[in-house]
Symmetry: D2
Subunit: 355 residues, 4 copies
């Protein structure tokens, strides 16, 4: 079968024929895989933690949706089922044993398409049913590839709801309608954060440093999400009218943390999700460690199976009304390897069609 | 205008012309009002806490949806907006001031259609915009009358999610897919509980003491909610296959509390919502006090504005897919006062159409 | 060595010479064992769940303090260390593996001196160091036998602090000084509850149905704990002056639950700890199940190692000032077996001196 | 009477006779006031937020203990009572009204001796009894001046216990005995943090960048608190043996945040308390805002009345055993104004004796 592989740590991407011996599990025909910043960084050879499962090359791809082609009756799945595979697989630590490998204590896990386990950018794969999450509504087949990035958002929501319990963090009418959440970053992750948090009844402001593409603006408008281009209006100015009660960062730069802490209100909740290895080394590690280790500021990384399921349910119930299909701005063939290095105008999320 | 009134404490219901001087507020044309067990109890003169707003008679009706006919520009509402009015209005206690009159500390509140405030069973009413919750999607106009009973369920969900935090109350894969929730009572409230909790990914078993109506069974089937008729299979038998991890009661009988505590698993969460004044006095007060006072076992009463908003959002996003329109089994004219005393075959929720 | 044994389910107590083969572990010389209601019930043959470790007889005793006589260097203990052994030993369930066998999910545990494991009413025992908790301050040697009953109270405190987080459950000055906790039962457990909760700054009222012994009244007075004898003043009368914000039951009767729910304020927290098998069967099971299964009303049973350690620290830091030695009202020889059946005037806690 | 005053924003300190008109309240004779880094910064004119109550000069002093000399019977205090006055006084915001001005939402509060309200460095003061916290045990009179800095620690403990609830943040035996907390800073605040957290059963490592004074080492040794001088052993080396599970900073430098995030384990909890205005401006504001605004990383500032009371109780029950009197290393007369600018060898906390 075809597969897109890389050779860590050097990077590069190649489409080639591979033979992988099937382990026990269900056979899944890949339908779509998404590519994200991490994939591009891997391809560029910039991520030190990338490692192959066996040998020297790694099959890329951690965002995927596929269709079961061979199952067994006790697996809970049957042929034709639409499924999303999980990325991170548990190690032996306390949290992994509780099913919360997203809070892994010792880093002893593998992640499909990233470290120690082949990913899903291939025609088909065999998977342990414990790591498959079912999509019930076939009408979301084309956006289900967003499950993986969205599960991160569902974990952020869990963290947000927890942190709100410190004090009565709500308005005098019990809702969040008087509160403003600023979301930094207008890529896929930023838009998914805005989408999910908007549904909590909080006002959401998307922030970026340059004018937004028309497609992003349309998406935000149709979902009543506000936005701010800091190249035309400063954050400091904006927060005078709409105070920043909470912030979520999907950029991963130390200066965003500074912008947040400069502007956030008392008792604010800041969830740090983004990491971006290209920033000034003097201050950057602070942020990366906060994020990668779930350190409370609050760093958030990965999500649990419950979050995959919640993401799928969100798309099934609200994906259409919120026009989430607009987030996917390009569909490519496996041969189109230039998508790993080039960025389209108005690009949000690019996906590869395998079948 | 027309209004359905009662004279507490004696009860009775009457449709008559009333003149009510308009206070400040928005003018709302009533679209639908629902009737529930409490309305029937009031009509039968069985609830001691019912009291008029002024004079000797009280306009009934606490479940309602209406349409704004006169607004002012600063209210946040405009003509034509679909709105649901809140039932309980805050007093002066600490929790009321926080917008959580559902946790009122001293009982010093009024409830529209129940105690100290006229209800919504009339052609129109004038309302303070602080106590109106907006429906954004007009396609749920006909089921929006379910907002009021459903807001109770959203509060139960808040309680459930809180109680789960005592210990890692989830399965080894982080989801709730291995857990079973038993819901007692198959009236409107019971079905709404099942509907909402099913969406959390927990297995739900509806329990009743007699065969379910075909319409209820269809509703449950289509939403993959299990059910148990204890006249044909005992609860004790059922829990052998599907252990009871949690329970929610919408019946309000002491023997249900006994059935729950007899069968619930260790670390179980039991939320008591129902109250039913007709039960043996020897043990009943226990339960009524637990419920009415939010005493932790966990009693749950009423819900906050945030829960109204959440209920509306649930219906907007999932009401159609879950076929919630099936819960409304009868639509009547204001003149049809017999609906306060008679019970239809297959009745779940009856509503009165005002316009 | 000498040991006090019983033969379940029939009961009875006998002091005899036993030989028990030493397993791996530290050797402990027993200093004191306490006897509590459970021991008396076992002796009377009234508890169905009592079972031997091996053969047909069980060594009694779950409240103990001893001194290490043989250790090994890696155990963390050395000869002469004062230690309290834990009662409940973990099974294989999720909570047991987390060290929280007090929240055991499946009941698959053993309890020293109660079910499936010999207790500490013997001259010496061999123990796995994982189940020993160290006493650092030798000056509490004589009251350290209270660690076991007090660890239950520390778990109740954990539950209380958790439940308080639902809403801002504190006074307008942030303290608990405006809140009243009613504690039912004036035996050892009741007094320990009052002692510990008083230290949180909440007002505590001890409740009993008959006049208190002078010694109990002195103890309460010196610790500024209020009390109520319901044979001379009704609870309903008392709560008019001092509303019941919270309650903890150490009696275990359904009518106490009724008294609590009759009188507790809105948003009240009631922790049920006591069980008493002799009550009317019609309502009793409700309570027993609530308690034994940690069902939220909130039942509380047992405590974790952290609670043993917290109990010891409490006694080390506050035991003397609070005059906790007064709780131990009788010291007996192992031969004095009548203490299992007779009750002394002014008795609170009786202990057996083994060395 | 005598008072130590400053003239903000220029600073300086002067002892002079002042006449202050008595408002309603209790009359308190000052016994001790402590001086801390903030007082020194005010004296040096380095804190921009300092402002007088009236006119142009401010009486300094926010750490104090005094004795009631005139009371009224309904105040809850009587002549001779030992009392600690609170620093921050509530404004009108939601959290202030709940008694949690330590979580003030809008900054509209005053702080005695710091901003908008005269402090306690004077012979006597008149105080609203709502802002007085009683010391019950006269034997702690000399250390009760530590209540104010210690109440900050009690708030940190509240935050720590809250944050631990995200996941089962404890060892496999339910205790914290396998966890290590690193405390940065060996001044008064650092030592109080170590003292209080040690009592939770967690291992504590005090960290400083230079050799510790003998007196500090003795204090730590006697309380079994470990320490690290990073001028002789690196943090990176130390955490190999004792991983950093949690950290609390009382230094207030961006590079400490970096050291923490460089070394803390997954799921770590870092509480930021210190602020130190003298650090590189490029990164410093980040930290100051995190701290001053209670932003979750987790910044912690001030404490509530409940924390004052808890601090007093801690000293009453454990102050003597933990030898907390050692923290006070110098007692001075009001005339000794050089203590605002000079630092003694082995200095920890200096106090001024007023009577």
């Amino acid at each position: 079968m075809r597969a897109i592989t890389t050779v860590p740590p050097g990077g590069g991407v190649k489409l080639s024929q591979v033979n992988i011996e099937s382990k026990n599990g269900l056979k899944i025909k890949t339908y779509r895989t998404g590519i994200c910043g991490t994939d591009k960084e891997i391809a560029a050879g910039r991520l030190a933690f990338v490692r192959p499962e066996l040998g020297s090359s790694l099959i890329l791809g951690h965002e995927a949706v596929g269709i079961v082609t061979e199952s067994d009756e006790n697996s809970g799945f049957k042929e034709g089922d639409i499924v999303v595979p999980m990325v991170r697989r548990p190690g032996k630590c306390r949290m992994c044993r509780l099913g919360r490998q997203d809070f892994c204590e010792d880093g002893d896990f593998v992640e499909a398409g990233i470290r120690g386990k082949n990913g899903f950018m291939r025609d088909e794969f065999v998977e342990d049913p414990r790591f498959l999450v079912k999509v019930n509504d076939p009408s979301i087949l084309d956006i289900a590839v967003l499950t993986e990035p969205m599960k991160n958002v569902m974990k952020m929501k869990e963290i947000f709801q927890f942190m709100r319990m410190r004090i009565p963090w709500y308005c005098d009418d019990s809702t969040l309608s008087c509160k403003n959440l600023y979301v930094f970053g207008t890529g896929t992750e930023g838009l998914l954060i805005s989408t999910v948090f908007k549904s909590l009844g909080i006002n959401v402001v998307e922030v970026n440093r340059h004018p937004l593409g028309e497609n992003v603006m349309d998406y935000l408008d149709s979902n009543k999400i506000d936005y701010l281009d800091t190249s035309s209006e400063t954050l400091g100015r904006k927060v005078k009218d709409q105070p920043m009660d909470a912030a979520i960062d999907a950029v991963g730069a130390m200066d965003v943390l500074k912008e947040i802490t400069d502007n956030i209100r008392n008792n604010g909740i800041a969830i740090m999700f983004g990491t971006s290895g290209q920033l000034p080394s003097s201050t950057y590690e602070v942020l990366e460690n906060i994020v990668d280790r779930n350190v409370v500021v609050v760093g958030s990384v990965d999500g649990a199976k419950a979050h995959y399921a919640e993401a799928i349910r969100f798309m099934e119930t609200q994906g259409k009304a919120m026009q989430m299909e607009r987030i996917i701005t390009g569909k490519y063939e496996p041969e189109d390897l230039k998508i790993f290095s080039e960025k389209e105008k108005l690009e949000i999320k690019k996906v590869i069609a395998w079948s």
